[in-house]
Amino acid sequence: MALLEVHGLVKHFIGVTAVDGVDLAVERGELVSLIGPNGSGKTTLFNCVTGYLAADAGRVLFRGRDVTNAAPHRVARLGVARTFQQVSVFPRLSALENLLVFLQQHQEERLLSRLLRTRRLRRLEAEAVERAHRLLELVGLSGKADAGAGTLSYGQRKLLAFAAALMPDPELLLLDEPAAAVNPTMINQMKEHILRLHGQGKTVVLVEHNMDVVMDISQRVVVLDHGQKIAEGSPQTIRRDARVIEAYFGR
């Protein structure tokens, strides 16, 4: 059984079929890239898988469990983390709190325990703070722990959002254009981060336009065009695939 299975997923918007019967299976520990021209349905597919859009047809299974059209917070709590294309942080929380908030919902959520700050919860919080500091250090934001996330630069916010997604130690990580609009040094950093996660056995799916990144790190590449899967395979085979070349460059 694959970790993530998508069966015949369909999503219509007014006048267009953004995702048109896509099947996708991601095995545990895989590093898969989703590519395709603009408007080919990659982000829409992510949004359907993570509950941000309701699919019109098809099924999504995570660890064999049906999560089709489950609310985003439910999908997140099952162990699916995602980042957003438009860099997304909580601007009025500090960088540290941005990370903490991503772990706490996976732990004790009872109103009274939280209001009274039980000893157990304070211990969990101390552990979370420690973990958050380690992750901030990993992405090079140690010095910014107490800075408001809204005051960080674009690149810093991108790194913060990435670190936040890692906070609950998710089983599956969906990254929407981690290398878009950042400088070459940071692209290399991102590549290293993703490869390291993969090395730790995490399952990663990324949507990415930067072909160097995709071809460099992916084990498998899935190509979408007009909402349909047109090719799937190793980076080498995808590079030579006639339909892929046509989709990108025209006939």
Binding site: H73, V101, Q104, Q105, L111, L115
Partner: protein
Amino acid sequence: MRRAAIGALAAVVVSAPWLVAALVPRQQRYVLHVLIFTALFAALALSYDLVVGHVGSLSLAHPAFFGVGAYTAALLATRAGWPFLGALIGAALAAGVVAALVGVPLFRLTEHAFAVGTLGLALVASVVANNWVEVTRGPLCITEIPKPVLGVPGGPALAITTLPGHYWLALGALAAVVLLYRGLTTFRLGRAFHAVRDNEPLAGAAGIDPLKYRLLAFTIAATVAGGVGALYVHYLSVMCPEEMTVALTVNLLVIVFLGGVGSLRGVLVGAVLFTALPEVLRLAPTWRLVIYGTLLLLVVVRSPEGLESLLRRAAR
């Protein structure tokens, strides 16, 4: 240093009735009345800020919850003969239940529609209070609401009959609301509320159910507002429909937004200033509203984020 300052402030606030008696013996009753109103308004404004400041939903329905609590307490105390604490708890629960029921459909609405929906609720509540004469007595008001008696049936009882007594009761209620407010707006609950306020889609990705947290803040805020309503009618002995009009929303908006939205200190400063100030200005009755309006404008122009941001800048 900071702790000492807070301690000194607390001492002054608690001993206010004696200070007032010593400093302005001739206006003692009037000043105490203003102080009681200030404490009750501060508690009400803090509960309101839980919704507008911490989950970022512009609700205009707070007078409705205050009114439900006030009328529930008034009716329980006069018609059913309930003791004060019973009426207080009943009032708080009634307001909380109403909020939980109307909150589910209201929070399906987007930002502006939500504000309009809550305004509608406030208007309906006000119309009901005026026209459901068999229950509320309409404009004739519910009168002869007994003074509060603290204590449980069968045990020792403490009747609140004097103005200082009412003041300390209101102050105790405010202290309880401050503690609740701090508990809700810091640590993990506060963080979840603020996440929903700052970026709802991302909050979902963090595993937070935005609707659940919005409803939680809304319901707790209404419960507190209902409790304040009960204290209010037991102090005044009267409950009339005009106590829960949209004018109350305007007052709360002024206190919260000009004091400092989402900030304990800001809302408290706002409550003191904007409850006491109109009273102080009674010394110049002709110009009262002109001066008040000008001051409001000045705050908005000079410090659009409220007095709290001025205080913060001053502390630096």
